[in-house]
């Protein structure tokens, strides 16, 4: 099945490369201006972005199935990273194996556009099955902690992220200008853009800490600046990529910005709890994959149900 990639989607993907080129030029300028300043992290960060955007573009333009497999792989990497940094019980090794199996099944329901199964498989069946498997093994010490840890990971990283993929299989005719791919681009781009915008506004104007106990570098100025920029951009992009009317587009921007912030600090809280700075080293300059998709764990399900309620 060939995904009919609309011109709106192609233009947006082209726009991503435009932003990357500008970002790379800015970094080159910074290196030229201050050759003795250490910009390694920034350089690595931009380089990783090139890889991410290239793989993402490839997945999006190939076909709907390739794109679904791509998001399944993102879930796999994220769950693996999560299970590698949180404490797990030796007794649960086999249970973790079953948890991984939830990924191909969940994304299979997505590829079949089986909405009923997609929406209950993890919250009902996986939720009930894994503790049963743990009980069969019989280790009761730290049982609740282990079950809770595992469910939180599967819910956010498999169930949550799979909502991005489900946008691809929503009826194309409800969004004639860009289809499901347009919705994915709108969601993913705005979520990542919001991260960057909050960071830049915070760097420029940041004074008042917003949540110092969890994330000491986050400020009210960064949050509100990001909120304004993302909402404006949502308003501008929505007419090309989504079926949303202008007032709903503004609300979508607010939703993505606020939810993205919460997703970000939620993973920060997790890292602080474990005592890690980064969740991994998969994406040089960013950290692990969880560091990159943290905001999406919140924005993906929330934006999905927002647009599903309004248009599908």
């Amino acid at each position: 099945m060939q995904l009919d990639v609309s011109s709106a989607v192609l233009w947006s993907l082209g726009g991503l490369y435009g932003i990357l080129i500008i970002a790379s030029l800015v970094v080159m300028f910074l290196l030229w201006r201050g050759p003795d300043k250490d910009q390694t992290e920034l350089v690595q960060r931009i380089r990783s972005w090139w890889y991410i955007v290239t793989i993402f573009t490839f997945a999006m333009v190939m076909s709907r199935h390739v794109a679904v497999v791509f998001f399944a792989f993102v879930s796999f990497l994220a769950l693996k990273e999560y299970l590698s940094i949180v404490p797990t019980r030796r007794a649960d090794r086999r249970v973790l194996f079953w948890a991984y199996l939830a990924i191909p099944l969940q994304y299979y329901w997505v590829s079949q556009a089986w909405y009923g199964m997609f929406i209950i498989f993890i919250p009902v069946y996986v939720f009930l099955l894994l503790p049963m498997r743990m009980v069969l093994i019989g280790e009761t010490k730290d049982f609740l902690r282990a079950a809770g840890t595992l469910h939180w990971g599967i819910m956010t990283l498999v169930f949550g992220i799979s909502h991005i993929a489900y946008l691809l299989v929503l009826p194309q005719e409800r969004n004639p200008s860009a289809g499901g791919a347009g919705l994915v681009l709108f969601l993913v781009f705005l979520t990542q853009f919001n991260d960057v915008a909050q960071y830049i506004w915070g760097k420029l104007l940041g004074r008042h800490k917003i949540i110092p106990k969890v994330s000491p570098n986050k400020t009210w100025e960064g949050f509100l600046g990001g909120l304004a920029t993302t909402t404006l951009l949502a308003f501008l992009l929505a007419r090309w990529l989504t079926p949303l009317a202008w007032h709903w587009a503004l609300l979508a921007g607010v939703l993505i910005s606020v939810a993205g912030f919460i997703g970000d600090v939620t993973i920060s809280a997790l890292k602080r709890d474990i005592g890690l700075k980064d969740t991994g080293s998969l994406l040089p300059g960013h950290g692990g994959i969880l560091d990159r998709i943290d905001s999406l764990t919140y924005t993906a399900p929330l934006f999905f149900h927002f647009i599903y309620y309004l248009h599908y």
Partner: protein
């Protein structure tokens, strides 16, 4: 033909499992030896340890890479022996030495003279998952016999979770590989073992690992 099989095994199959199913956090990769002779020593928790270490090296070094392994365990049936010797490429040595035997490390000395890179697990067996065991003295003897050969200590974490001893199901985990500075011969075995032990403990302390009990 067998060489091609070995390239396919390590170059495709093992790399796919190690890099996609598992995934590695490698620190200080530049400290790995770039040519032989050299000895890589690591802690041992899983059959995957060898596979991970082998996949850290560029494929052009593959003909020179040999994991040193226990003869009694890895030379069984004819097919299995063929596989471990020709495809995995182990260098078999005797674990139990009897009176009148030649120096059991002689095959290793010979390989090092030929400029090979040996992978050695001085813990002797895979042991309890994710617990460092003390190293056995054979490694000091090997270093003493080859004082000019650099020994690179490597600390591995997570592979005992992914595929511990006695388990057949591989469960994906990101694994950590911390590579230490190359060590040279200290002059006597006791101080050498002490230094190696310290290096391994320092490498292990670089990580912040979740509990696994």
């Amino acid at each position: 033909m067998v060489r091609l099989l070995r390239y396919l095994f390590y170059g495709c199959f093992i790399r796919l499992i190690v890099l996609i199913v598992l995934g590695l956090n490698v620190r200080h990769r530049h400290r790995l030896p770039k040519f032989g002779p050299a000895i890589v020593v690591a802690n041992h928790n899983s059959h995957l340890d060898t596979m991970v270490l082998m996949s850290l090296f560029p494929l052009r070094l593959l003909p020179k890479l040999h994991p040193v392994a226990a003869m009694d365990y890895f030379l069984g049936s004819r097919l299995f022996s063929w596989f471990t010797l020709k495809v995995v490429g182990i260098l078999p040595i005797k674990r139990k030495v009897e009176r009148g035997d030649d120096n059991p490390l002689e095959p290793c000395n010979q390989a090092l003279r030929e400029g090979q890179v040996l992978i050695v697990f001085p813990e002797g067996s895979r042991g309890e998952p994710e617990h460092l065991q003390s190293f056995k003295g054979g490694i000091a003897r090997l270093a003493e016999n080859n004082p000019a050969v650099p020994v690179v200590p490597v600390f591995l974490h997570g592979l005992g979770k992914a595929l511990p001893k006695g388990e057949a199901v591989l469960v994906p985990f990101f694994c950590d590989v911390f590579i230490g500075e190359p060590m040279s011969w200290t002059g006597d075995r006791r101080s050498y073992m002490h230094q190696l032990d310290e290096r391994m403990k320092l490498l292990a302390a670089e990580g912040n690992f979740p509990t696994w009990e």
